[in-house]
Amino acid sequence: MKCKEIHEVLEHYLDNELSPEERREVREHLKGCPACREELASVKRYRKAMASLKTMPAPDNFLESVHRRLDRSPLRRLLDFLFMPVHIKVPLEAAGVLATVIVVLFLFPVTPKRDSFLAMREKEASRMPAEEIAPKAPDTAKIPLLREDSERHMPSRSKGDKKAAAEEPEQYIIALQITPASMKTPPMAGMDKTSRLLGSAMKKAEVHDDRDISVDVEEKDALKDDETSSRKAVVRPRSESPREVNDTVQEIKRLAGSLEGRVIREKYNKQNVPDRIILEIPTRNYTDFMNQLNRIGKPEIQQTPTRRAKRSTQLRIDLVQ
């Protein structure tokens, strides 16, 4: 046996766990190896030292302490477990809560809701006198608020009101004034002056926002010259052709499709011209839909649903000619 192997079996040698043959080999090696004899002496000293450690007796009041702890109420035990010792556990737990909050805020950042922003704009607009309202503002502020925002500004309903609300249909009802085709497209190059002036005048009269109000000086002068005819043209009620109505319906359908919506139902009048279309669009796309609808016609909200739909919003669009 080599010295390394002897060192490995010295413990077993002292515990009498070796076979007689192995014991004899170890004994023979130890006789001629001072280093291994020193190692054996070291192991013996270690054992003696460990065995010399005195037994530590339990404190005199040990039994009483155990009984006191056994008699504690479960609530007290839980509180002790959670908060004792206070100067160590409370700061550690506070740090843990803070870290959790930071992680949650990092994973789910708090951003102001778009609808809330619109509600704020509307509130501000309602406070201001009508003439002070900037012409551009109504473009977005006009859009009816979703239920959760409108509810914040409304006083609490009485029981009767609630009953009535329950009977209301859960959809937006929108009256859409169809914009004539001539208003949607820019004037053609070959158009005569009267037609262009008529178009500009109608635009000025019907479209309240200033998006398209860019009548040039020449047109204004021309309007002065031909004032009477243009006024008559503006006030004269127009009725759109079934073709234009159909085109509008197609545009609405395309718009709904582009915003992940779908057409639920279409209703036709006696002349077989569509006069109502019911759509369903994702609630998150409602604002975009209303913005786009402003370009197709002139929407006017007749009724808003009593409850805010979580995923999809239903809209009934009545086509007004």
Binding site: E8, E11, S42, V43, R45, Y46, R47, K48, A49, M50, A51, S52, L53, K54, T55, M56, P57, A58, P59, F62, L63, S65, V66, R69, L70, P85, I88, K89, L92
Partner: protein, 200 residues
Amino acid sequence: MSRRANSSEESIQRDRKLVEEVQLQKSDAFDALMIRYKDMVFNLCYRLLGDYDEANDCAQETFIKVYRNVKSFKFKSSLSTWIYRIAVNTCKNHLSSATRRFQIKAVRLGNPAREGEPPLEIRDVSQNPASLFERGEEQQAIQRAIESLPPRKRILVVLRDVEGKSYEEIARITGLKAGTVKSTLARAREQLRQQLKGII
């Protein structure tokens, strides 16, 4: 040999009677059980934790667990092995708790005895009742050396070299294989002897 076997048999019978009385909720039966094992449990906790108050807390916790679980004790092992197992697990949980690591007022020497092992810790034991008990410098040095071992090695050294348990019993208490116990214990002893060179 025969006398030792008889003594062991008597001890087992006494434990069985004690447990049955505790299970029947006889008055003072649990006190008798505690009186029989409290010093053994306290000493084990003290050697594993190295702190008098923590040892007291863990020893009490051990007996509370014994009291709450004694109804399900089926004598699959001896009572002392079962109590040792509870005490070792309680101390192990305590050693790994963040609270304890925070509580240790120790100066780390930053010069570990061996690479990969935790550094030697010097505790402030001047007010510790145990330090009054262990006046000998050698005893204190041995205790500090034991504390510097990682939990598993510490448990094996205390059970084998301090408490004098057999390898089989240590395997039953710790749930380790006997081979693992022997090899880990050999490494722990080697580490301790190196640390205690010049002291013992």
